[in-house]
């Protein structure tokens, strides 16, 4: 798909909605379409966080394995969600597994490409960080509530 075609898709995702000033072109330059079959892993814990996924269709499960407990899904992500925050912070490693729950289509952003462009253009970097920050904060809030185990028998 052409970069112009990808620009439209990236702009349609809420993460980059309204992105202007030539930034959209720069971001879309790091983008490609990807597709995962149900059950296929997008990435595994410990691997280099080299991509950011903007989910378009389908859903994915974010999982952590614990000894004796198997795989636990702690979050799912669906259309218009973002998977991949580890690309922002060194050493850029995934800290969980992600598996497609059903056939899933997404835009993959090359993390090194985007980081390089953000480093070269602080205005772009600031704009990108502003857009990722709400997702980071929302995840933190959700994690806090999950840790409280609100529906446990003690509550």
């Amino acid at each position: 798909m052409s970069v112009k075609g990808l620009e439209k898709i990236v702009a349609a995702h809420s993460l980059f909605a309204g992105l202007g000033g030539g930034f959209l072109e720069l971001v879309a330059g790091c983008a490609r379409n990807v597709r995962f079959e149900a059950g296929q892993y997008l990435f595994h814990e410990g691997e280099i966080a080299s991509e950011i996924y903007l989910i378009r269709e389908g859903s994915v499960a974010l999982e952590i394995s614990a000894p004796g407990q198997g795989c636990m899904t702690f979050m799912s992500a669906g259309p218009d969600d973002v998977v991949g925050l580890s690309w922002i912070v060194p050493p850029y490693h995934w800290t969980f597994d992600t598996r497609a729950q059903e056939d899933t289509r997404a835009i993959s952003l090359d993390a090194i490409c985007l980081r390089t462009k953000c480093d070269a253009d602080p205005a772009l970097g600031y704009e990108v960080m502003k857009r990722f920050a709400p997702t980071i904060v929302a995840r933190l809030h959700s994690t806090r509530l999950q840790l409280l185990d609100l529906y446990g028998t003690h509550s």
């Binding site: 899904t73 669906g78 509530l145 999950q146 609100l150």
Partner: protein, 280 residues
């Protein structure tokens, strides 16, 4: 305003003998009972009864059945303490004490012509189930109807068959999430507020009903106001240590309110400032 029934006997502190007529184990530790009580004249969605086992104790339990059935009383009880644990073992034919109904009702009729969002967490689905029965029975009177339900895990989803049935009706949106799951679960995982993103309602014309653990209600109500729903249009059911149920003993007091008498249903404009006070 809809009629809110008063306790069905002349002395609201005296229980009547009620009989368990049916028992369904919903999930481990959670049981739904059908109960028959003499002179029962019905309830309004949101009201509760005081149920007692002689020699064990008395607890407040919301009524979880349809309000249009004025003969059968339905309660869903979770085994979390001495009284509820003993009640959870009751079989059909068993007797228990009952007094009620008490408290204020969900203002369901205020939602007529508006979109309705019901947000429930854990066992909080039981006190809002009478609302859902009312909405479904009177579906044409309301705009878009959305139920957002959060449970701890797939094994702890309450009223699973009814959730499936409501979702299949196609004239209301039913979204379920769990806090964590194993790999066999194909549904949504995350706290209940994460379901708001996909919910379709007009915040300016929405009435919301929220029920669950207090922290969940706080975050749920805040997420609704963030979405543009007015605090006066967000209603929640408070849980406190209710003992007399008629506003005399003061055990359930929160600020200027007795939860048993002035509540348990309040709106967010009333409760938000009080929930910010840790000592309450």
């Amino acid at each position: 305003m809809a009629h809110i029934p008063d306790p069905h006997l002349s002395d609201p502190m005296v229980p009547v003998l009620a009989r368990v007529t049916n028992r369904v184990e919903e999930i481990p530790g959670v049981v739904t009972f059908e109960i028959n009580a003499p002179q029962w004249q019905g309830f309004a969605p949101g009201q509760f009864n005081m149920l007692s086992l002689f020699g064990v104790g008395e607890i407040p339990i919301s009524i979880s059945g349809p309000s249009f059935d004025s003969t059968t009383i339905i309660h869903t009880i979770r085994d979390v303490g001495a009284v509820s644990g003993a009640m959870a073992t009751l079989e059909p034919g068993a007797m228990l004490g009952m007094r009620g109904p008490y408290g204020t009702a969900w203002p369901v009729e205020q939602a007529r012509g508006r979109d309705v969002v019901v947000v429930a967490g854990g066992l909080g689905l039981a006190p809002v189930r009478p609302i859902l029965y009312h909405l479904i029975t009177n579906r044409a009177n309301f705009g878009r109807v959305t139920l957002l339900y959060g449970a701890r895990s797939p094994d702890e989803i309450l009223f699973r068959n009814e959730l499936s049935k409501w979702r299949a009706q196609l004239d209301m949106s039913v979204e379920v999430t769990v806090d964590h799951a194993d790999a066999t679960w194909r549904g949504h995982v995350g706290v209940v507020t994460t379901l708001f993103k996909g919910a379709d309602f007009d915040p300016a014309k929405t009435t919301a009903f929220v029920c669950g653990p207090e922290i969940m209600m706080r975050f749920g109500a805040n997420a609704l106001t963030d979405a543009g729903v007015a605090p006066e249009d967000i209603h929640l059911s408070m849980e406190r240590n209710m003992q007399c149920a008629i506003g005399l003993c003061g055990h359930c007091q929160i600020g200027p309110f007795f939860v048993c008498k002035d509540g348990p249903v309040f709106n967010w404009a009333q409760m938000k400032p009080l929930m910010a006070i840790k000592e309450l």
